[in-house]
C-alpha cells in the first residue's frame, strides 16, 4: 500500500539528494581541486554572512510573529460562533493563494515604489510579504484542528473553572501541540529557504544575493557550478535537520496511533 509513496520518495527525494551530495565532490568554480572542501569554500564566500544575517532577522522577528498571529487568530475564530467566520478565514487565506511572483509585484504596488526603493525597508518588505502569504494556510489548518477538540473536554474545563484564556492556554494549545510543532518546523524551514521574494525584488538591485538560497541558485544556474550550489543548500539544511530532530526526540511527534482525544 505504501509502495507508490515510497517510489516517489526515493526518485523525487532521496536519490536527488544522494546525487547532489556526490556531485559536491566534483571540481567546480568555487573549488577547482574538487572534494568535500567545497562545503567550507562556499561558506567563505563574502556574500554568505550578510545573507545569513538577513535570514536571522526574519527568524527573529517575522517567524515568531507568524506563529503568534496564526495561533491567536485561530483561537479567536474558534472561541465564538461568529457570523463572518468563513469570510474572515477566506480573507486571511487569499494572500497565500496568490503566486509569490505576483504577490511581490502586488505588494510593491500596494506599499508604493518609493518605499520599495528605500534600502532600509527591504528586510521589512520581504518579511511582510512572507508574513501575509504564509499565515492563511496555517490558520486553516490550526482552526481545523481546534474545531476537532471534543466539546466534552472543553465543558469539563469550564466546570473546573477555566475562563476562555485558560481554556485556550491549558487545554486547546496542548491538544494541538503536534500540529503546532509541525507548523514551527515548516515556517523555520521556509524562512531558511526563502528565495522567491528577494529574487523577484531584484529589479531594485538591492536583493541580488539577499538569501543563501539565492546565492546557491546563482552558483548552480548562473555560474554553472552545481557543486557549489548544492553544497550551500545542504549547509542550509543542517539547522532544519537539527530542529526536526529536536522536535522528534522531545515530542510525541512520531508515536503511532494513540487513544483519540474524543
Amino acid at each position: 500500500m505504501i509502495f507508490p509513496y515510497l517510489a516517489f520518495m526515493f526518485f523525487c527525494g532521496i536519490i536527488p539528494i544522494g546525487y547532489g551530495i556526490l556531485e559536491v565532490r566534483n571540481p567546480s568554480w568555487v573549488n577547482m581541486d574538487g572534494g568535500f572542501e567545497t562545503f567550507i569554500k562556499v561558506l567563505q564566500d563574502f556574500r554568505v554572512g550578510p545573507a545569513i544575517i538577513n535570514i536571522l532577522f526574519l527568524l527573529g522577528i517575522f517567524v515568531p510573529l507568524m506563529i503568534v498571529t496564526v495561533l491567536v487568530v485561530s483561537l479567536l475564530l474558534d472561541a465564538t460562533e461568529f457570523r463572518y467566520n468563513k469570510q474572515m478565514r477566506l480573507l486571511f487565506l487569499i494572500p497565500g493563494l496568490i503566486p509569490v511572483a505576483v504577490a511581490v509585484l502586488f505588494w510593491s504596488a500596494v506599499v508604493g515604489y518609493e518605499v520599495v526603493w528605500d534600502k532600509s525597508n527591504i528586510r521589512w518588505l520581504i518579511g511582510a510579504i512572507s508574513f501575509s502569504t504564509g499565515i492563511g494556510s496555517w490558520i486553516v489548518i490550526q482552526y481545523g484542528s481546534l474545531r476537532s477538540i471534543s466539546q466534552e473536554v472543553l465543558e469539563a474545563g469550564v466546570v473546573d473553572g477555566c475562563n476562555r484564556f485558560q481554556l485556550a492556554w491549558r487545554l486547546k494549545l496542548p491538544m494541538i501541540g503536534r500540529y503546532i510543532a509541525y507548523m514551527v518546523i515548516l515556517l523555520i524551514a521556509n524562512t531558511l529557504q526563502i528565495f522567491n521574494e528577494p529574487n523577484l525584488l531584484m529589479y531594485t538591485n538591492m536583493t541580488t544575493d539577499w538569501s543563501p538560497s539565492q546565492i546557491a541558485f546563482g552558483y548552480a544556474f548562473k555560474n554553472a557550478d552545481f557543486a557549489g550550489g548544492v553544497a550551500l543548500s545542504l549547509i542550509m539544511l543542517i539547522p532544519n535537520l537539527i530542529l526536526a530532530l529536536l522536535f522528534v526526540l522531545n515530542t510525541d511527534f512520531m508515536k503511532k496511533s494513540k487513544t483519540t482525544w474524543r
Binding site: I2, I15, K86, A189, S257
Partner: protein
C-alpha cells in the same frame, strides 16, 4: 399528496425558477462577458491565444499530479500511523527531511533524472517530478495517528479485516476532511509552482500558467493576481464545509 410527489414538485419549481432567472439575466451576463473580454483581452489573445495552451497544460499537470500525490500520500499517512511497517521512524524522518530540502538543491538532480528518462520538456516528466507531496503525507500521518484509536483497528482485525480492509472500511470513511485539506493544499502548491516547472519546461509552447504569465508582469499585475487566485478560492469554498468540521475529528466518543 405523497411525500415523494411533493419533493418532485418542489424540485420542479426550483428548476423552473432557475431557468427563468437564467433567461432573464442574459442581458446582464452579456454585459459581464463583454467587460471580462475587454479586461482580459490583452492576456487571452496574446501571441495567438497561447494562454489557452498554458491553461490546458496547467490543467493536465495539476490534476494528474494532484490525483497521484493525494492518493499516495493519504495511503502512506495511514500506513505509517496505523500499521506495523518496518523502518517506520526512518521513513517518517525521511519524509520530514525531504520536505526541508531547498528546491534549489533538488532541481538539478531532478532535471538530470527526468532528462535520462527522455521526459525532459514534457508534461509527463513534470507530473512525475511533482507528484511527491511529503507535506500531505506528514499531515495524513498526524491525522490518522490522532483519530484512529488502536482499539478500533483491533476490532476491525477481529472482524477479519486485513490491512487493506482496515484502510478501506475505517481509514477512507474517516478521512473526508483530511482529503479536502490535502487536496486543497496540493492544488494550491501545484497551481502556483514555479521553480521546478521553470527548470523542466523550457519551451514556451509547453509552459504552464505560473510561468507563462511572467510576460505580463508590470502590465496588469492585479488582473493576473485575480486570475491566479480564482481557482484556489473556488476549491476552498467547495471544500470549506469539510475543512471547518475539523481536520482531525475523532472516530470514537468516550
Amino acid at each position: 399528496m405523497e411525500i415523494g410527489a411533493q419533493r418532485r414538485n418542489t424540485r420542479l419549481i426550483k428548476v423552473t425558477l432557475f431557468l427563468i432567472t437564467l433567461v432573464a439575466s442574459i442581458p446582464f451576463l452579456w454585459i459581464l462577458r463583454d467587460v471580462a473580454r475587454m479586461m482580459f483581452a490583452p492576456i487571452v489573445y496574446y501571441d495567438n491565444g497561447v494562454f489557452f495552451t498554458w491553461l490546458k497544460n496547467t490543467s493536465i499537470f495539476v490534476f494528474a499530479s494532484m490525483g497521484i500525490s493525494v492518493a499516495s500520500c493519504i495511503t502512506a499517512g495511514f500506513v505509517l500511523a496505523v500499521l506495523d511497517v518496518p523502518f517506520r521512524r526512518f521513513l517518517l524522518f525521511s519524509t520530514l527531511a525531504t520536505m526541508l530540502i531547498p528546491i534549489t538543491a533538488m532541481a538539478m538532480p531532478l532535471y538530470v533524472m527526468v532528462d535520462r528518462l527522455g521526459l525532459n520538456n514534457t508534461l509527463l516528466g513534470l507530473i512525475l517530478a511533482s507528484s511527491y507531496f511529503p507535506f500531505g503525507a506528514f499531515l495524513s500521518y498526524l491525522y490518522y495517528s490522532s483519530v484512529l484509536p488502536p482499539d478500533l483497528v483491533g476490532m476491525g482485525r477481529i472482524d477479519g479485516l486485513g490491512d487493506f480492509g482496515i484502510y478501506r472500511h475505517l481509514g477512507i470513511p474517516l478521512s473526508k476532511s483530511l482529503i479536502s485539506v490535502v487536496t486543497f493544499f496540493a492544488f494550491v502548491g501545484l497551481w502556483n509552482s514555479y521553480q521546478l516547472p521553470r527548470v523542466l519546461l523550457a519551451e514556451p509552447s509547453k509552459s504552464i500558467m505560473s510561468i507563462g504569465i511572467e510576460v505580463f508582469y508590470g502590465q496588469g499585475t492585479t488582473l493576473i493576481a485575480l486570475m491566479m487566485v480564482i481557482p484556489s478560492v473556488l476549491l476552498y469554498l467547495a471544500s470549506q464545509r469539510t475543512i471547518a468540521r475539523g481536520i482531525f475529528s475523532g472516530a470514537v466518543k468516550e
